[in-house]
Subunit: 224 residues, 2 copies
DNA sequence: TGTACATCAGTGAACGCGCGTTCACTGATGTAC
DNA sequence: TGTACATCAGTGAACGCGCGTTCACTGATGTAC
């Protein structure tokens, strides 16, 4: 079977419609949330009959999986861009830039953020396809930790052996104590974003951006 | 209208059935999650006809609100108990005890945790009834911060004026820098629980309890 | 280049499901005199 | 204490809705010779 031009013509149409479906689905996700994402509604919006979508996605869950992968990719892209825009030797500046970028993306795409970092969608089981895209943001954070850990490592509490083992298996070339610290900063970063996004700062903090920036300062201070 | 015995007989039956409805609803919530919580299914389980529930709750959302209030109360209770069980002057011990208690509750009641600290339920808007119960855990954390802030306050980064203002308005009698630190610890605490519960540690950390304990150590270390 | 056949996208109807909510009703429980 | 009336819990049918998925089909596009 030769890859003729005509073959790719149909294939190209297919790719384009697949993209359109995903775009429309993403819009629906943004407007109504993941649990309310409906194949029929997406098809309706595209002027197709609902059964036609099954030529492109074998099930609703498959479509949802595609959206999850895209969301992870989008936030990963945003994090990488922010990281590239600052001095690669300044750990603090990098963490701050990435932190703000992720928060900004989360505020702009709350349902997508909820989809990937919030509570799991009921009835949906994430397949392994989502594992790799999920690591893109964390890869940036790990790279930041790598970029200048010399001074920090000694000042930080040592994790117990079982934890140290897990952590050095997962991330090599970094002292486990520092990995644990980085994961704590990671937890604080996403914790702060989630608290804000899910309404827990509602009646408490009003200058949210400044508050978050200060939280980043507190995280960065730990790096010594 | 006098509060006669017979009056309270009917009222007592009403209270009991209301409790039964909530209990059954909580079981459904635990099994299938908030988005899948259905009045009809709850009624079916109770051997009632679905319309009968409307004598007790005016809508599905009202029932959901009751569950949210109960969940906040449950985790608040757990936090208070844990706090009472340790030396009131040992900030670190108190934080650790409360942290483990909240995590334990979250692992035991994942859907309830998701309901109150995860992404909002689609289409549901929390009424003001949920505000007060929501503060019960944070009240414990604030009390811990209050219990011995003398040494810590000076070593911590100062928040910018707008943030300091928000924070001293919200929580009086504590230096804003310390409130911000406490909120950072709060974010890290719930961030760590959410990362674990929502599957982000899946292939990384295996001794989760020890990992979480070490995270608590990292938080407590900040108190100086 | 032309023709016979295979592949594929999209249609439209249907299946079977469960949901929240309303409403007129029956019969039991409670209240006022 | 007894009776007439009011309140309330629970019933059962119905409304109107949207969903995911399957299936036999038509007609267009692509392929092999």
């Amino acid at each position: 079977m030769v890859e003729s031009v005509s073959e790719t013509a149909r294939a190209r149409a297919r790719a384009e419609i697949t993209r359109e479906i995903k775009t429309t689905a993403r819009r629906h996700l943004a407007e109504h949330g993941a649990a309310a994402l409906s194949l029929r509604a997406v098809a309706r919006d595209l002027g197709m009959v609902s059964s036609a979508l099954y030529r492109y996605f074998p099930s609703r869950d498959a479509l949802l999986t595609a959206l999850i992968v895209e969301a992870f990719d989008a936030v990963g892209e945003v994090a990488e861009q922010a990281d590239r825009a600052v001095d690669g030797n300044d750990m603090g500046a990098r963490w701050r830039a990435v932190g703000h970028a992720v928060r900004r993306w989360a505020l702009d795409h709350p349902h997508e953020y909820a989809l990937v970092y919030g509570s799991p969608v009921p009835g949906y089981v994430a397949p392994t396809d989502t594992v790799v895209p999920a690591t893109r943001v964390t890869a940036v954070l790990i790279d930041i930790m790598r970029s200048g850990f010399g001074e920090t490592a000694s000042a930080v509490a040592l994790p117990p052996p079982s934890v140290a083992e897990d952590l050095s298996r997962a991330i090599s070339g970094l002292p486990p104590a520092l990995v644990a610290l980085g994961m704590g900063m990671w937890a604080q970063l996403f914790g702060a974003i989630s608290l804000e996004l899910f309404g827990h700062l509602e009646t408490v903090v009003f200058d949210r951006e400044a508050f978050f920036d200060h939280q980043l300062t507190l995280m960065i201070d730990r790096l010594g």
